[in-house]
């Protein structure tokens, strides 16, 4: 993992401090989310294909999530990674595009908070904050509560309602699942990937 530039590390420390001031407890162990990008080498129809993302989350260590941007998603077991090796003549891995996010887990009452540093190809790109309200799986029933909680440590940086919920036909009232979480990470990763960050190309 790459070193984190001073400014990012300061922000991470500040978020940790704010959470601890609130009374949140640091949990044992850290968390990680990673994402590999694959592209089809050639399609029979000659049409350009969408990128295929294969992701892992330490919260679901036996699973592997495969996603097409805006398209179908698959939850599979870890052998899916082995299958991608078999498919290497059809889908090539863009190693330079590997994104990782690692950090600490906090618990504040019914909230689980994960603050992570996002690195792309060993260079730090940004900070992620994942907030989960554990007793409820229906986003529409807890969004206002979550927003209020996030304000307490993110201040004015509270995000808008994640689009993954607004684009669903049932909207906010369909239960969320691990794919919804991974879709949000993927959106964040792609946003950070497009950011120009001069001077951040620090390598180990």
């Amino acid at each position: 993992m790459g070193r984190v530039p001073g400014a990012l590390q300061q922000t991470v420390d500040l978020l940790h401090k704010k959470l601890e001031q609130l009374g949140a407890l640091k949990q044992q162990g850290n968390f990680s989310v990673d994402c590999e990008t694959y592209h089809a080498t050639a399609t029979a129809s000659g049409q350009p294909s969408k990128l295929l993302y294969v992701m892992h989350n330490s919260e679901t260590p036996l699973s592997c999530m495969a996603l097409f941007e805006g398209g179908p998603c698959l939850v599979a077991d870890a052998n899916f990674d082995v299958l991608m090796i078999k498919l290497k003549s059809h889908f090539q891995n863009a190693k330079g595009h590997k994104v990782e996010c690692r950090g600490w887990k906090y618990r504040y009452s019914d909230f689980s908070i994960k603050v992570g540093t996002v690195t792309m190809n060993s260079s730090a790109r940004g900070i992620s904050a994942e907030v989960e309200y554990c007793p409820c799986v229906v986003p529409g029933d807890c969004w206002n509560l979550m927003k209020e909680f996030m304000q307490s440590f993110l201040g004015s940086n509270v995000p808008e309602l994640p689009s993954v919920f607004t684009v669903k036909p049932e909207g906010l009232f369909a239960p969320s699942d691990c794919i919804d979480t991974m879709t949000q990470y993927l959106e964040l990763f792609n946003k950070l990937r497009k950011l120009q960050m001069p001077g951040s190309n620090i390598r180990v």
Partner: protein, 209 residues
């Protein structure tokens, strides 16, 4: 987005290099009961297990070479169970002394979005069938006795017609590469099923007509 550079694959999880050791044979419908009876006697003591599966065979055609084949299977008797995605490599050639067919094998359990996902990857369904039958186990060995049926109306697993008047019998073991003693065990087990069924090393690539 520009095409990312091409590099070597990383692996995060999963079991690399699992091999399937396989012997195959068949029995006529009339002989099914005596075979099942024999298997019940020889195999591990367990509740009789039956299955009814729907298998879809998908092809991914590249610009050159053979198409890449994947098999997607779902249980019709347990519709909420995960789908099973399977890759089977080409049979290993050369080793004549080995008693079983050996091929690379990757098994993946997946969510129910598999057909849609494979389509997005560029795979197209080539053919489908219904397989139903009985499963037996003896240690690491698995014996599957299967009746294969063709699907008359695409996608409709109710409307089927049996493919033949016999049952396919398969004896298989999954083991890491190089464990060739496995094939010895399989051979001695297959001996015990004679003359009810003759299990042989059959190369599927030589069966195409």
């Amino acid at each position: 987005m520009e095409a990312p550079p091409v590099t070597v694959m990383p692996v995060t999880g999963g079991t690399i290099n699992m091999m399937e050791y396989l012997l195959q044979g068949s029995v006529l419908d009339q002989a099914l009961d005596s075979l099942l009876h024999r298997l019940r006697g020889l195999c591990d003591n367990m509740e009789p297990e039956t299955f009814t599966d729907h298998e879809l065979v998908y092809l991914l055609k590249g610009q050159q070479g053979n198409p890449f084949i994947l098999r997607a299977r779902r249980s019709l008797s347990h519709p909420t169970a995960p789908w099973h995605l399977r890759y089977l490599g080409q049979p290993e050639v050369g080793d004549k002394s080995r008693h079983a067919l050996v091929r690379n094998c990757v098994d993946v359990a997946t969510s129910h979005s598999l057909p849609e996902f494979l389509n997005e990857m560029g795979f197209r369904m080539d053919h489908e069938f219904v397989a139903n039958g009985h499963i037996f186990r003896k240690g690491a060995m698995k014996v599957v006795v299967t009746k294969l049926s063709r699907i008359l109306v695409p996608g409709n697993t109710e409307n089927i017609e049996r493919l033949s008047l016999s049952y396919l019998v398969e004896l298989s073991v999954l083991a890491p590469a190089g464990q060739d003693t496995v094939s010895e065990d399989m051979r001695s087990f297959a001996e015990q099923l004679k003359p009810l069924v003759h299990l042989e090393k059959i190369d599927p690539s030589k069966q195409r007509h």
